[in-house]
Subunit: 175 residues, 2 copies
DNA sequence: TCACCTCGGTTCAATCAACGAACTTAGGAC
DNA sequence: GTCCTAAGTTCGTTGATTGAACCGAGGTGA
């Protein structure tokens, strides 16, 4: 979606957001980053995305300032991808899209529930906690499998780790 | 993005939403529908989307229950595409994505502002009106060009019509 | 009656991106 | 020396997007 064949003539904030986020796989990668996935191999295991596409998308997200690529060990040097503030600001959009998908595109309801930890209440489609009435930032949310959850489908370390309730943005332990 | 090569293994609400909405052009078409665009020719003029792609996307959105295709005149019979309730429920997602794009991906700020008509206040990224504290449904919003607006760029009937403040979902008059 | 116009598409060849399997590179472990 | 892991890159095949041309139903004007 490079120059010339992009949404460039659409001088609109949504179009510019989609220039990056509208590429296939990109938003699922960002969602996984909210779930605490940080490593190339874990994204790969959870997403079934072609390796080349994953590498390109991670690079694009780093270039756009959504993810930060930083070393998590030396010798051998390895890197992880962590959401920046700009990336965390995508939470309302991700929550709204996921909420719509759970209501209108899922046979059995949402696969995951988001609970505002201080209140123990599910957030609504705007990302607001009905109990305290405030917008619930992702750090204060816990993901947990919902009624339409993974059951038979996936079996990879990331999917297994997500069967346990998990605070958003905390690194996911994939034993 | 048909069977077999879709996000099907991602048993997740977001993945299912993206199965439809993640296709190129789809969310821009939905955005235009919120702006009041209803006709094939107007989408075409505003979006620079290939005709075949537009036809395919409109069909997919109708199949998914996001748009309703209904006649607006007989002899010759012509149809228009109007957002259903399911389509209107996409507003929080569209608003959140557009808000992110305006803050993080636009050089000069948002190209369009959304004002809650009863309060005269701009809605925030969650779609909530800061003045009345409630979620502002799209019917109560007015679009208006903002600081980063179209200026030189596009010159088509739809872009011209959007230079005037306009209530969301009201049919756009493209004289 | 004929030519031409509009609207809402469809068709098709060329191009571009995604896919997936194989390969690579750098270091550690046995 | 051999094997293993993590994080990629390479590359031929498949599939989607593009844009220009075409189509058909109906109206309009001379």
């Amino acid at each position: 979606m490079a120059l010339g064949k992009d949404y460039v003539a659409q001088d609109c904030a949504l179009a510019r957001a989609l220039e990056l986020l509208g590429e296939r796989w990109t938003l699922l990668i960002v969602r996984d980053a909210f779930y605490g996935v940080r490593r190339y191999g874990d994204f790969l295991a959870h997403l079934d995305v072609p390796r080349a596409v994953l590498a390109a998308r991670l690079q694009a997200l780093v270039d756009a300032g959504v993810l930060d690529r930083r070393p998590y060990q030396e010798s051998p040097r390895r890197h992880e991808y962590v959401l920046t503030d700009r990336g965390r600001d995508l939470w309302p959009a991700l929550n709204a899209l996921g909420h719509w998908g759970g209501e209108h595109a899922s046979p059995v309801g949402p696969a995951r529930l988001y609970t505002h930890l201080p209140c123990g209440t599910r957030v609504d489609r705007t990302g607001t906690c009905p109990a305290c009435g405030r917008f619930a930032p992702p750090e204060e949310l816990e993901v947990r499998p919902g009624p339409g959850a993974d059951r038979p489908h996936r079996d990879d370390p990331v999917s297994r780790a997500l069967l346990r309730p998990h605070r958003l943005l905390e690194p996911l332990l994939t034993e």
